[in-house]
Amino acid sequence: MIERKVKIINNAGLHTRPAANIVKLASKYKCEFSLIKDGLNINGKSIIGVMTLAAEKGSEITLVFDGIDEELAASEIVDYFNRGFDE
């Protein structure tokens, strides 16, 4: 299991487009993936779940990866957060 803390750095926050992209990225991997914010634990392969997360610029989210390809998944998804969702 891998746990990583990430920060939302783009101005618009975790809006619909990045939410959809995160789910698309996560779906490529076999490992389980969840996002934890303010005590809310969300399945990262569920678009409707990720969309319930209100995460404006500056907020922190914990990402948890668990499964055989967890390292690859963690590096790609954490990187996407760190790039500010390419915005």
Partner: protein, 582 residues
């Protein structure tokens, strides 16, 4: 008499005819979702699956068209909505809950998705509220599709549908089952329900305000589409009267059918071509039976209403070819999609003023792929040389020129691909916007024919929304501005040597027909069911008297004068001639 009137509801007779049948109450979104239990789990799972698939197709249809107009942000929301329908976590939760709780899928869908929207609504971020609306939107779409399937299977015997309003997709749904009549709370003569009911020859009474609350499921109803009256649980006397009336009408139908082979010619020998409008493929039979000269308007957007995605070239080609072959050797005028912004865009993107927005030719020119697939399909179906193409909502000459360029491109492509088609297929326009009426001479010189669409033309000239009950009485086909505009369009088109006809509802109004013929129209396109009556009216008049009637009406300054004159003319000339028919 007093005791009788208590069970009579009065509205507007929107489609003629009489029906006696049980009421079927069709309540759409408003109906509460109950937590009924189920016994057949497999069936429920299957229904969920079908509803999810159907919702996906609907969204893709909207998305395919609106993508350029949506902007990136909105497009992302669409993308996400489609993803939600495939969300593995959501879908498996829904399936498991149906299995474990054994409740109807619409209850489970509503309950499960509401958990997410409730969470979103807890947030203080304003955009989360917006997002919650989007999720709500998708929830309602799934629930609606789950219910639709149920509606269809619920109607097993003859019924009169009682509802608040009827949408185009509802009418398609109902055209497939045993619907004997429509009764609606809202809507006027030109509402969609009225047009479809007339074309299918099903009586309809609209604008009854609270009929859907006052009538109970299973009540016996008599609907009188001539007078606009509905009798709820009629007594013996009322039933007897209307049963007699129905058999009288059947006799008259036989009378009118005798006119089938006769031309719509005035007593002094002027022949009017009577064409039919077509909305549903099922109408072809009635069209040929009623002796139409051909089809003056195919409403293609309606023809494919029940398709979940936009039909591709091949699908369209098959349908156009069927129509062309079945009507051959007569002519068929196919109007390209007249889709309005209000029909394609999702709820939160609706234009504030769809009638002044992105519709008709504007949408087609902005969606070249869609436009070309339709032009190519029509061209390919034109090999018997009996098809013409008509462009909707033309407001400027550049729209005609651009469209013609695209048509030529399509011809070049088809030639290279070795398809047979009519190289000289006629191209015409709808005249339904004041700018087209003003510039008619120039426009007419650019095209092979023009067809006056009165429904929109009148509403644009008079600035009256025909669907808005508060002002619908101001929607007047005999307004002097309308009558003089018609005169201008007809005479200027003729001066340009271009064929002119009319395909709006006005052409099917027995009171208006004498004026339209007098103004010089040589052809009219109406609901197939109206053809025999109009033929009978025309055959009883002389063109000479109609010309002077038109001259008289052109001089009037008020709607009232024209209206009174036309009614007086009708009563003097036609009332006895067609008595009991109207």
């Amino acid at each position: 008499m007093k005791s009788e009137s208590e069970n009579i509801l009065k509205g507007i007779g929107a489609a003629p005819g009489i029906a006696i049948s049980q009421a079927f109450i069709y309540k759409k979104e408003k109906e509460e979702i109950t937590n009924e239990s189920i016994t057949d789990i497999d069936e429920a799972l299957e229904n969920l699956d079908v509803a999810l698939e159907k919702s996906k197709k609907e969204l893709r249809k909207i998305f395919s068209l609106a993508v350029d107009k949506l902007g990136e942000k909105r497009a992302a929301i669409f993308d996400a909505q489609i993803m939600i329908l495939d969300d593995p976590i959501l879908v498996s939760t829904l399936q498991n809950r149906i299995k474990n709780e054994m409740r109807i899928p619409e209850y489970i869908v509503n309950d499960e998705i509401s958990k997410y929207t409730d969470l979103m609504n807890l947030s203080h971020e304003p955009y989360m509220k917006e997002r919650s609306h989007d999720i709500e939107d998708i929830k309602n779409r799934i629930v609606r599709n789950l219910k639709k399937k149920k509606w269809k299977s619920k109607i097993t015997s003859d019924v009169v549908v009682v509802t608040s309003t009827v949408s185009p997709s509802d009418t398609v749904l109902f055209s497939r089952v045993n619907v004997k009549g429509y009764v609606t709370d809202f809507g006027g003569l030109t509402s969609h329900a009225a047009i479809v009911a007339r074309s299918l020859n099903i009586p309809a009474v609209v604008g009854l305000h609270d009929a859907s609350n006052r009538i109970k499921e299973g009540d016996l109803l008599i609907i009188d589409g001539f007078k606009g009256e509905v009798f709820v649980n009629p007594d013996e006397k009322q039933l007897h009267y209307y049963q007699k009336k129905i058999s009288q009408l059947q006799k008259q139908d036989t009378e009118l059918n005798k006119l089938r082979e006769l031309p719509a010619k005035t007593l002094d020998g002027k022949e009017i071509q009577l064409f039919a409008n077509l909305e549903l493929i099922d109408e072809i039979e009635l069209i040929t039976r009623n002796g139409a000269k051909g089809i003056g308007l195919v409403r293609t957007e309606q023809l494919f209403e029940e398709y979940e995605a936009f039909p591709d070239e091949e699908e369209q080609y098959k349908v156009y070819k069927t129509i062309a072959e079945r009507i051959y050797p007569e002519t068929v005028i196919i109007r390209t999609f007249d889709i309005g912004g209000d029909k394609v865009l999702p709820v939160d993107l609706k234009e504030p003023n769809p009638f002044l927005g992105w519709r008709g030719i504007r949408l087609l020119l902005d969606s070249p792929q869609l436009f070309k697939s339709q032009i190519r399909a029509i061209l390919r179906a034109s090999s018997h040389k009996n098809l013409k193409l008509m462009l909707p909502m033309i407001t400027s000459i550049s729209e005609i020129k651009k469209s013609k360029e695209i048509i030529n491109e399509c011809k070049e492509e088809l030639k290279k691909e070795d398809f047979a088609f009519d190289k000289h297929m006629g191209v015409g326009i709808m005249v339904e916007v004041p700018s087209a009426a003003v510039l008619i001479r120039d426009f007419a010189e650019e095209v092979d024919f023009v067809s006056i669409g009165t429904n929109d033309l009148i509403q644009y000239i008079l600035a009256v929304d025909r669907g808005n009950e508060i002002v619908s009485s101001l929607y007047q086909e005999f307004h002097p501005a309308v009558v003089r505009t018609l005169h201008h369009i007809i005479s200027e088109s003729k001066n340009a040597g271009t064929m002119v006809s009319m395909c709006g509802e006005m052409a099917a109004d027995p009171f208006a027909v004498p004026l339209l013929v007098g103004l010089g129209l040589d052809s009219l396109s109406v609901s197939a069911s109206a053809i025999p009556l109009i033929k009978k009216i025309i055959r009883n008049l002389t063109y000479k008297e109609l010309q002077s009637l038109a001259t008289e009406c052109l001089a009037f300054k008020t709607e009232k004068e024209i209206n009174n004159r036309m009614r007086r003319f009708f009563n003097e000339k036609e009332k006895d001639h067609i008595k009991n028919l109207y």
